[in-house]
Symmetry: C2
Subunit: 149 residues, 2 copies
Amino acid sequence: MKLFESKKSDDYIIIIGCGRLGANLANTLSDDDGNVLIMDTTKNAFRRLSSNYGGLSIVGDGTDLDALRDAQIEKASAVIAVTNDDNTNIMIAQLARDLFHVDRVIARLYDSERESVYQALGIDTICPAILSAKEVDKMLEKCGKEQIA
Amino acid sequence: MKLFESKKSDDYIIIIGCGRLGANLANTLSDDDGNVLIMDTTKNAFRRLSSNYGGLSIVGDGTDLDALRDAQIEKASAVIAVTNDDNTNIMIAQLARDLFHVDRVIARLYDSERESVYQALGIDTICPAILSAKEVDKMLEKCGKEQIA
């Protein structure tokens, strides 16, 4: 871990929200030798991190500027906002992008109907319902092809 | 719609649970001219269906055998269990497969740690957190490559 050595780290990633997705990402990115910090408002959420997780975890509110500064957000190459609340995620994404000039900002969005609004704001979004629907579609298609073959 | 003409329809799909994912799937599959039925315990859930939705929607409990028979599950080519509860989804999947001999059964699973158990039971699962984590990973990778290029 060479965290916080240079002004901008090439691979310092901050994840806000340690739910299933946040923890999953943190575990994966830390496995890949990335410098990862995960933040959640409750300490208990960190139970989801694997025992091999090699990054940092801090208790804090991702919409709080001081908490973001504590996480050295200005050095982050990417911020991923995956709390359970769409508005919180979008607010974090906007803070990260507009105030701290983070290059890559991704927000999870439960409500797919609002996706276009956020994309218009220049924020990358991931929508689990749409990804899952595509996956089911792929599974059904594959099944159909197998039956024909 | 040629629903219920033959014993087994080639493309009669039952979706249980009209949350974001269920509604999204129902809208997509009905757009593709599939024969779709969606079931939910509350009528209010059907507000998520688009105005163009061309399938059926019935109020019922997907773990209730009579409700499944009312939906003519024995004629379904696929059953997709996407309620908000993992155990409910898995129970529906098992009923569909073992009792009604549905060829293709897919269950949504929030808890990715139980995925292997269900796959051992021969049930296809989709896990939104894993799909989303993969998507974020892809986005970050693409970003890294763009910076190098």
